[in-house]
């Protein structure tokens, strides 16, 4: 039932306590957290640095603005409502279509204006933010995701999580939503995590609930045929976030837009550990190797280093 902890250590598996002490606590300076914890701020700094992000359509900061919600949503049929300081995908509402007075979720559920009103009201009162602080709701353009992923995702945008350690892409995975995860790309809610080869962008392994799967549980497609296009562009984009965030241990979530290519969806200063299971590799080995490199390399050299050392040969 239990794994031998010494074996895990030998494999270089990063545990939660070590992550908290040495990587989050040791590499991420607290003063930079607001940049990634607040998605509005992230968007601003990313845009300023020329990093591609989904377009921000509106922000709602006060309950009083909700009275004008109908006007704000005029002409918007495909959008995402999310809390600026939310975590774990909480409070995110995706609208893919509009039919008269109804807003339609990816799973076909029809919402009325007052449902959206309620969600935003919850966001503003801080229900989804860390520590219950009053928050801001963002309305973002819905990413029209690349059809290449349609086969591997159920009602949602699959996103690519890249762990950037000290500016080097260390590990990557594709997170595919399933029926069980309610269209969300969170592994603990039942989404499938697919480990991605750093060199080629090809799928390595897939796991759901920590156990291996070969096919998507809802669409039935084989993960081994999966290959992510624009791979080099994606990891370059991810690695470039190090310069703007100054965070040594960073999770970068990227989506592929049909027209715009890779976009940064959000940044995470406390990326999780499930990525190791999807890659069947411990993160520590890679982190230790990166620790030995000189710090002065530029983005493309760092990416080249990662491709050389972490790619499957």
């Amino acid at each position: 039932m239990f794994a031998n902890p010494f074996k895990l250590k030998k494999q270089g598996i990063l545990g939660m306590n070590k992550r908290n002490i040495h990587y989050i606590g040791g590499q991420n300076d607290r003063k930079y957290y607001p940049l990634v914890d607040n998605k509005v701020k992230t968007k601003v700094i990313a845009e300023n640095a020329g990093i591609a992000v989904p377009k921000l359509l509106a922000t709602i900061e006060r309950q009083s603005q909700l009275r004008k919600l109908k006007d704000i949503l005029v002409g918007l049929d495909k959008f995402v409502v999310k809390p600026a300081q939310g975590s774990g995908g909480k409070g995110i509402l995706v609208i893919v279509e509009r039919e008269g007075d109804h807003f339609i979720k990816p799973n076909g559920q029809r919402l009325e204006l007052r449902d959206i009103h309620q969600d935003i009201s919850n966001i503003l009162s801080g229900l989804y933010s860390l520590g219950g602080k009053p928050d801001v709701a963002m309305i973002e353009k819905l990413v029209e995701f690349d059809p290449i992923f349609e086969r591997y995702s159920y009602e949602g945008v699959p996103d690519i999580r890249v762990i950037i350690y000290k500016g080097y892409p260390a590990m990557a995975m594709l997170r595919c939503s399933t029926k069980e995860s309610d269209g969300k790309a969170n592994l603990h809610q039942g989404a499938v995590g697919v480990g991605i080869d750093m060199a080629s962008g090809k799928a390595l392994f897939a796991v759901q609930h920590n156990s291996p799967v070969t096919h998507h549980p809802d669409t039935g497609y084989d993960f081994s045929e999966l290959e992510i296009p624009h791979w080099k562009k994606i990891i370059l984009l991810a690695a470039s976030c190090y310069e703007v965030t100054h965070l040594g241990y960073l999770g970068v979530d990227i989506v592929l837009d049909k027209n715009l290519g890779p976009l940064i969806l959000e940044l995470n200063a406390r990326p999780g550990l499930a990525i190791q299971i999807a890659n069947k590799t411990g993160a520590l080995k890679r982190f230790d190797l990166i620790d030995k490199q000189s710090k002065t390399l530029d983005i493309s050299d760092r990416v080249a280093f990662s491709i050389n050392h972490f790619g499957v040969k």
């Binding site: 939660m16 070590k18 809610q189 920590n210 190791q276 069947k280």
Partner: protein
Amino acid sequence: MPRRFQVLLIALSFAFVGFFLVWYKVNVLGIPFLPHEKSSVYKVGAEISFEGKNKAVLVSMALPGAQDGIQILSEDVASSGFGYAEAQTENGKRGEWSKRKVVGPQILYYSLEVLIEPGEYNPKPPIESFEQESESLSDLPNTLINTAKNLLDDVRLRSADTHSFAAQLIQDFNAKEPSQAVKILLAQGGEAKLEILYRLLRYRNILVRKVHGLYLESARRNIALTPMLEVYDGKNWQLYDLNKGKVTRDKNFFIWKQGGDSLIDVTGAEKSNIRFSLNERQVPVQYLLDKKELLEKAAILDFSLFSLPVSEQNAYRHILLVPFGALVVVLLRVLVGLRTSGTFMPILIALAFMETTLFAGLIMFIVIVGMGLIIRSYLSSLNLLLVARISAVMIVVIMIMSFMSILSFKLGIKEVLTITFFPMIILAWTIERMSILWEEEGAKEVFIQGGGSLIVAVFAYLVMSHPFVSHMAFNFPELLLVVLAVIIMLGRYSGYRLSELIRFKSLAE
């Protein structure tokens, strides 16, 4: 690794200081390391209140003297701005407070710690010089005197000796349907039962004293002294409760005042009143008997929690257990990896369990949170703002709690009445969080986190309610340094959690 070294150094020095102090207390001062046989120590408090009228005030209160079978451990006077002195009078000590100019309502406190000494109670030997003025009842009208005489003659026929006479007389006065004579005496004598009985007994030339005191029972507040009569038959003194008759086990009756002097005299103020309170706690016998000696021996005990008033000591009894609960939380989260909803919510639940008992507490918690979740799911469809919704949930929690209390009271289930110990704000937040969790992540996550919280709470309860732990926590508060050291060390533990050994199992193969 300088930071790691620092942490280690701090933790080790804390642990060393903690253990050293424990060793010193056990081996040099002789405080028992293991919980001992306990006995009750009562804190008896008197609270004198009055309203100053911008005049000089003198308050004089009768103080209890030494008595057999009950040992006075300590005495405490709290009265800001008042001068305090003790005076010896014919009928015992009196405490006197004085102040030149007193305005507005005032409260004076006087308290004693007393211990019922182990062993048999031996009544006092008779006081040789006890002389009593004879009573002629001459101020009463003739008819009333005759009634009294008839009653006393009647009682005499029904009794064998002095004690049975006194007992019969008191019983007559307490009968459900008192005799005509008693009714007349009570109605026309114009005096309280105590005074009438006192005079009647003296009329028969029985040696009798008025006594006021308190039954040392469980905690009571806002009570008055119980009046009693003490009767001497030439050999023994016997106490008689005016309502219950003969007091057989007079050992737990603490005599505050003997004789006819007033309990308090207040000059220069109005609306004076005196109330008493009682508080009980369990203390190791051995330790108590040595306490005085110990205090002389070691100055550090003067700074220990024992020097605080009893009510504060009682509060610390609970507060000092919280760090042990926190240690359990840290252990279970850092080493085991249990997920809980709210970091320290389990400790608060565990504290509630300590009042309600574990089983009843668990059931009540599950029922309240379960019912709360159902009601919260309806509230969510009403589209309320967050603060209003949580307040609504809190009110619903209070209603569920009071309903459960009433229902259980009617059904005679006493345990549920302790439900009030649950911190309701925490319950309301728990319900809110769990309900959000349910909507966002499904029922499974609710059971994982709710179950995790309960498991941690149960473990924390088991540790905190263990007699050994509570003994150690209270008698050796320096152990907090050791707990602190362990928690600091755990704070730098970067190894795997037990749950991760399962989670990453596939990677170890």
